[in-house]
């Protein structure tokens, strides 16, 4: 394994823009950059911890119960993150709401556990998880930044478009998530020369 194990998740196999996985949180909680960052970091933590543990225990877990074991490990870390976020801020916990619990069924995490961590060593599993987690956070921030900028005129809570800017309310509503994701996918495909 090379540095590619880490870097592929950042761009070439980015979970949001290339694999198009975990769309539920991608579309639902990216109405502000702060929410996107918090969800991205929470997912990153769960991804790294669960991949590490799955890799460590890969020779102990029989294949018949591997999925149940992976879910158990992932659910444990998600619940721990839920407690930690509540300890950091009630407002943040309310804003992320049910989507924290839904990290359990985020297909990126189970996907990396099954496809990579259960077949590779601990260091490589950590590198892969870190790359994928950062790539996912980057994807969420791309959406959250644009939606907050046009939907509220601010970025990370700071007003940047001035008092005369009329917010595009649609951008912070659910359709804004679809429009922004479509816009980013189009731009990426355009850069690759595959879009018209």
């Amino acid at each position: 394994m090379t540095a590619d194990t880490f870097s592929k998740g950042l761009w070439r196999e980015n979970p949001v823009f290339v694999q198009v996985l975990g769309m539920c949180p991608v579309l639902a909680v990216t109405n502000t950059a702060i929410n996107s960052m918090a969800m991205g970091l929470a997912t990153l933590f769960v991804l790294v911890m669960s991949s590490t543990l799955v890799s460590l225990l890969r020779h102990l877990i029989p294949k018949q119960v591997r999925i149940a074991s992976f879910i158990l490990i992932i659910a444990t870390f998600v619940t721990a993150v839920d407690y930690v976020i509540q300890a950091i801020s009630v407002e943040l916990h309310k804003a992320l709401g049910a989507f924290i619990s839904l990290i359990v069924v985020n297909c990126i995490i189970l996907g990396r556990a099954e496809a990579f961590a259960s077949k590779n060593g601990v260091l490589d599993a950590m590198k892969d998880a870190l790359g994928m987690g950062l790539g996912f956070t980057f994807g969420l921030l791309c959406l959250g930044g644009v939606r907050e900028l046009f939907g509220s005129g601010s970025l990370f809570g700071w007003h940047v478009l001035g008092p005369h800017f009329e917010p595009w309310v649609l951008m912070v509503l659910p359709p804004g998530g679809f429009f922004t994701l479509a816009g980013w996918l189009w731009l990426i495909e355009l850069r690759k020369g595959r879009a018209t």
Partner: protein, 195 residues
Amino acid sequence: MTSLRLVGVLTGLGVACALILTLVAQTTAPRIAANHAAYLQKAVLQVVPGGVTQEPLEWEGVQAFEVRNAGNELQGYAVVCETRGFQDVIAFIYGYDPNRESVTGMKVLSSRETPGLGDKIEKDAIFLEHVSNIAVPVENDALVHQVEFVKPGQRLHEWQVDAISGATISSRAVVKGLSDSTALWVPQLKKRRSP
């Protein structure tokens, strides 16, 4: 033997995960309790506009606060209420102004309602406007009208609240909680104000 190993692995993992979660829960519990208390204090002043200071009321069966303005005059009361929602219990707090005889605001403290649907009880502008201006006049130690839940766009009186389209069960739950709680506590708060 194989089955025993499967059971053993899953049991061992379950016990290890339970231990980790116990440790995390115990470590974060004091901080979470402090955050919830601070959030509640902030909510009390939000549901009673003009309030500056708050004092908990030592009443049995309800968590309520007396709120005073900058001139240390009584501005209103805030009452915590729980109601059965679509997914789970919805806890919210509402404000009551005995001078205007009106509910002055509502804020959800905790809820697990469906994102995008049931959670409209925290965001729907019309619903929030209605629950911030509900007439609850008292006569003979009882409400003249109980708070009522009506279909969207059918509010005719100030003691009625429009349902939220797409969040009917959740909005009905909040209005039922408000109706029951105001019927029980508002006459007592009013009496406390003018004995």
